[in-house]
């Protein structure tokens, strides 16, 4: 684990992985979306509005998965004080927030023709909105702390604690449709079975894989940019001292 935590080694690996993840993600997402939007059958109940699923489900999965990544990075940053973990958390947060917003918007657009409403306050929709607020709260707190400590992530604790506390929302999102009566339907895909026809499952899983790789690529890109900025700032400080 600590082998990869060395920033220089991380940068060497990330330099190779970033284009790999980004390009394969773009290709898979494009293929999945193309099949989903043009080459897959409509649904027997929903007609063509089922196609929103090929964006909505990957967005929902990355919103929750991204938050788990944010919380784990924050935990590592708090306990081991490793700067890479703090940088990873900062890199994940806006990307996860974006996917949460995409999930909410696409779900709402699907809800109108299917349910007859854009929004209801049921447990699934509400807990997903809370996830967006957690991301926004994290971003606000993190940027306030960055200003205060000059971007030294090892000194910043508030945002990390918020991210960890927010983890309780993840099982609530997952099980909301089983614990309570909700307007949102239950899970279609579990570890053992799927109630989605194979002709629709294939583009869904392709687009899910594509968006996940793209998510990883964007996070690596943001981490490299953050490390590069730190190096430039450190060099600037050294030069300023040398000329002082």
């Amino acid at each position: 684990m600590h082998r990869f935590a060395n920033p220089a080694r991380f940068l060497r690996i990330a330099r190779v992985c970033t284009p790999l993840l980004t390009l394969s993600g773009l290709v898979l997402a494009a293929v999945g979306l193309w099949i989903g939007l043009f080459a897959s059958p409509p649904d027997y109940q929903q007609g063509d509005s089922v196609r929103i699923m090929y964006v909505h489900v990957p967005a929902a999965w990355l919103a929750s998965g991204g938050y788990l990544g944010l919380a784990i990075s924050s935990g590592v940053a708090l306990v081991w004080r490793h700067p890479l973990a703090g940088i990873a958390a900062r890199a994940i947060a806006p990307v996860g927030a974006l996917f949460t917003a995409i999930c909410l918007v696409t779900g709402s657009l699907w809800g109108k023709p299917t349910w007859g409403t854009y929004w209801v306050w049921d447990a699934r929709l509400t807990s997903m909105l809370v996830l967006l607020f957690l991301y926004i709260g994290y971003l606000a707190l993190a940027s306030a702390e960055d200003e205060r400590h000059g971007g030294d992530v090892t000194l910043e604790r508030g945002a990390a604690i918020l991210a960890i506390v927010g983890v309780v929302n993840l099982p609530i999102i997952k099980f909301s449709v089983e614990w309570w009566n909700t307007l949102h339907q239950g899970p279609s895909i579990t570890l053992t079975k799927s109630t989605i026809d194979p002709a629709m499952l294939l583009p869904l899983l392709t687009s899910l894989a594509g968006f996940s790789l793209l998510f990883g690529g964007i996070v690596l890109m943001r981490m490299r940019a953050a490390l590069a900025r730190q190096m430039v700032e450190a060099r600037g400080r050294r030069l300023a001292e040398a000329y002082a």
Binding site: P41, P42, D43, Y44, Q45, Q46, V50, M53, G75, L78, V79, W80, R81, P113, T114, W115, G116, T117, V120, W121, D122, A123, I164, V165, V167, V168, I172, W179, W180, N181, T182, L183, Q185, G186, P187, S188, T195, I196, D197, A199, M200
Partner: protein, 146 residues
């Protein structure tokens, strides 16, 4: 007892905090119980009759063969069932496209005279099955789907 290194202290602290957080959330969710539920099923309504005139949401399946258009052309009457109990519902207005017999529905309204649920809103509930029309058609023929 040997002293823990600071990072191990922080690890123990984090684990203890996570356990406490998990316990507190479990207690909160248990206390919340079915108050976070979005709608009641017909059986719930029979088990705990709501105060007359209070607005509630009632959800279940539209009973097969129960949908009847009223003479005014705008009002429909149907029964909502959870396969144990059923409740008669009346609604005036346009129902969503997915409102069908045998499909899930959530109605919002209050109980009127004679135990009839007077709905102000009707939402269609979608289930977790997704399939092309041809597959649905052949399943209907062999009788696997309702």
């Amino acid at each position: 007892m040997s002293r823990l290194k600071p990072k191990h202290q922080r690890l123990v602290l984090l684990c203890a905090a996570l356990v406490a957080l998990g316990g507190a959330s479990t207690l909160a969710l248990t206390a919340l119980g079915d108050k976070a539920t979005y709608f009641y099923a017909p059986s719930d309504v029979f088990a705990h009759a709501p105060e007359p005139g209070t607005a509630i949401r009632l959800g279940g399946l539209v009973e097969r063969g129960s949908v009847a258009k009223q003479p005014d052309g705008l009002t429909i009457a149907f029964r909502v069932t959870d396969n144990a109990r059923e409740v008669p519902v009346r609604y005036t207005g346009i129902v969503p496209d997915l409102f069908r017999e045998g499909q899930g529905v959530i109605t919002e309204g209050r109980f009127g005279p004679g135990g009839v649920f007077m709905a102000d809103t009707v939402l269609a509930k979608h289930d977790e099955k997704y399939m092309p029309p041809e597959v649905a058609g052949s399943l209907h023929k062999v009788g696997r789907v309702g």
